[in-house]
């Protein structure tokens, strides 16, 4: 393939046409991509777009696909040419078909709280589990990070080896590495923990961030997640970030360095709310703790009424 700047620029003019949802007509995984496309296998699908045109597109995941599966467009870095020119193009992300999601755990739900560090996820979660303990139960987060004082009982600490091994075995169904300047910390959720709560007839609640939320939605189906995004008060992103900074300093759990890391991650978290509005059922501004908790309690009670029978197994 010739990838001079001019030919790449001509290709990019076509990009807008590919920016549509569609369905998979056929798919393959190219095990040995051509020169310039890197070494790792690429999943490529022939997709019928909404306007009836057909395109070849890369998939954003290596997860098994199905013919007929719905996909949505996403911008991705495709490759870097010999001169170092980076080409971004539309790739397609599979949307878990409703049928498949419902089959996995029909009528079972997870309440997910997502938001930047310091927004009040843990506090709201504590209020939920104490106030509605007969309906909800908190799912512990598995983490490889070293325990420290001030940690609530929300974490279960395991070694890096154990984490990798359980992830490989398919027990950890949602995992993410949160960047920090000192160590690579892994966080994840274990399938058994979630399903054990369902068996008790309760609704699992999870405190997530963007990758964990996406993994959970991918595994259990988007419809199984009652997803609440928590935003700090503030009219602008800058105001929101300064509010977070204030809260993080006040809570006194983190070092100043760690707070800097958290604020940096918070920026991309806030962006995520805008980019992936489809992953949230409620976006709640946590200005008044009682009001925010109230909104979530309300959905929990409604869900409990719908799913009052524990799963027989």
């Amino acid at each position: 393939m010739y990838d001079t700047p001019a030919s790449l620029s001509r290709q990019q003019k076509q990009r807008r046409n590919r920016n549509q949802p569609g369905t998979v007509l056929a798919y393959t995984t190219v095990r040995h991509p051509p020169t310039g496309f890197g070494e790792s296998p690429r999943q490529i699908a022939l997709i019928s777009l909404e306007d009836g045109t057909r395109v070849l597109g890369n998939m954003t995941t290596q997860e098994p696909l199905e013919i007929g599966q719905a996909v949505i467009p996403r911008m991705r870095l495709m490759r870097t040419n010999e001169q170092g020119l980076r080409t971004y193009d539309i790739a397609y992300e599979p949307v878990m078909p409703v049928r498949q999601a419902m089959q996995r755990h029909p009528g079972r739900y997870i309440v997910a709280l997502t938001g930047p560090s310091g927004v009040g996820k843990t506090t709201i979660n504590l209020l939920l589990s104490s106030g509605l303990s007969e309906y909800v139960q908190h799912v512990p987060i598995l983490t490889t990070r070293t325990p420290k004082t001030g940690d609530a009982d929300e974490y279960r600490h395991i070694s890096m080896e154990e984490f990798t091994q359980r992830k490989k075995a398919g027990e950890i169904i949602a995992a993410t590495a949160i960047p920090s300047r000192h160590e690579k910390r892994w966080y994840g959720y274990c399938r058994k923990d979630i399903e054990a709560i369902w068996k008790k007839g309760k609704i699992p609640t999870v405190v997530t961030e963007m990758h964990l939320l996406q993994d959970l939605a991918q595994y259990y189906g988007r419809r199984s997640i009652i997803s609440c995004g928590l935003l700090p008060p503030g009219r602008s992103r800058r105001a929101m970030l300064s509010q977070l900074l204030h809260r993080l300093r006040k809570r006194g759990r983190d070092s100043e360095e760690s707070i800097e890391d958290r604020i940096r991650n918070a920026e991309s978290d806030l962006q995520f709310f805008e980019q992936r509005a489809d992953l949230f059922d409620h976006l709640i501004v946590n200005e008044d703790l009682e009001r925010a908790t109230g909104i979530i309690k309300h959905s929990v009670l409604r869900l409990s009424a719908m799913t009052s029978n524990p799963i027989e197994s």
């Binding site: 393959t28 022939l46 057909r54 395109v55």
Partner: protein, 376 residues
């Protein structure tokens, strides 16, 4: 056909990895063999048509017409034909037109491809030239990838299983054992095919035709006669890009070329006793059998699971086991059909050669006038 065109001489190099031979040497070997059994001499050749796809990419050589013509003592007029993997058959078709028009009377058609000089990724990229550079290539798809898409769709529509598909390459390998010109003269059991490494899901290494060097040549004539007559030569095209197709499990170009070819030869499909078809990937052989009308849609695999001894499919080993030096393949198929007809004393044989994902399809029907059924 406006005139009777005869295949008066043919030959090929064994297909394989020819480290000590380049384009010139390979072509020279095939030409020598073709002239050996022809009723004319080199000097009688009044035109040369060369089929080749990759010489610029692999050997840095364009201008193959004059290069190959200079292998003959009198430097006859020469042109090159290129239509990706269908280059060979398109060169044959071009030769037919020249003979029919009367511009030439004895044409040497040479297909030659040198592939092993380039590394794998160069070859992979070069072969992608057979697809659409604007619509297909930017996704990072490869040719096995395009046929992987087709195979995944075919399996979805007709329920073809991995185990069934493995019968295709297995039969090709078994048949190549008897072909001294084949690249792989070793058996491949269906479970070996199923266990070979993945190339482009669901296609595995042993579903794919190899990278080969080789040449094939034949001399077509309206002046001299031979028992082998070209009864039909048809060419059709379809979209270069897979994104232009509405049907992934059938190639319209093959269906159309087949109808035209049967009409031109004035025969029925059932008169044909042997075919060499274009099995660049195992799934292509299954689809080709259906498009040629030898099997119902979705049932092409049955002819591989239960081969009919009276109906030859890729007796040479096909592209998979005999080898696939791209430009030579279409000519080798015709050479091979001629040989098979003379040996079996049967009357009709067919060669189907396509380029890209069936974007150019060329079909030749050959009649053996010395067969027991022939009235000439």
């Amino acid at each position: 056909m406006e005139r009777d065109i005869f295949i008066i001489g043919s030959g090929q190099t064994p297909f394989g990895e020819w480290w000590d031979k380049g384009i010139r040497e390979l072509a020279d070997d095939a030409i020598e063999k073709a002239l050996e059994n022809a009723p004319c001499s080199a000097i009688d050749i009044d035109m040369v048509i060369v089929a080749n796809m990759l010489a610029e990419h692999v050997s840095g050589q364009a201008h193959l017409g004059s290069m190959i013509a200079s292998l003959l003592p009198h430097q006859p007029p020469a042109i090159r034909a290129e239509a990706a993997c269908a280059s060979g058959a398109v060169a044959m078709h071009t030769a037919c037109s020249m003979l029919e028009s009367g511009r030439a009377r004895n044409i040497l058609v040479v297909g030659v491809e040198k592939m092993t000089d380039a590394d794998n990724s160069t070859i992979t990229s070069a072969l992608m030239g057979a697809a659409d550079n604007d619509k297909d290539a930017p996704s990072g798809i490869t040719f096995p990838g395009l046929f992987g898409l087709i195979a995944s769709r075919y399996m979805h529509e007709y329920g073809l299983t991995r185990e069934q598909l493995s019968c295709v390459s297995s039969l090709h390998h078994a048949q190549a054992m008897d072909n001294p010109n084949a690249q792989f003269r070793s058996p491949a059991m269906p479970d070996q095919v199923s266990a070979s490494p993945l190339v482009a899901d669901p296609l595995r290494l042993l579903d794919c035709s190899p990278i080969s060097d080789g040449a094939a040549a034949c001399i077509l004539s309206t002046e001299h006669k031979s028992p082998l007559r070209l009864a039909a030569s048809q060419i059709t095209t379809d979209t270069t890009s897979i994104t232009g197709r509405t049907n992934l499990t059938s190639f319209a170009a093959t269906r159309e070329a087949m109808e035209h070819a049967l009409t031109e030869a004035a025969i029925e499909r059932s008169d044909i006793s042997t075919v060499e078809l274009h099995d660049c990937f195992s799934i292509a052989a299954v689809i080709s059998l259906e498009d040629l009308g030898f099997a119902e849609p979705g049932r092409g695999i049955e002819l591989y699971q239960h081969p009919d001894p009276a109906f030859g499919i890729n007796r040479s080993g096909g592209l998979k086991a005999c080898g696939h030096p791209v430009g030579a393949t279409g000519i080798k198929q015709v050479v091979e059909i001629g040989k098979q007809l003379l040996q079996s004393k049967k009357q009709w044989g067919l060669a189907q050669n396509f380029g890209g994902i069936g974007a150019t399809c060329c079909i030749h029907i050959i009649e053996n006038l010395s067969s027991t059924h022939s009235h000439v």
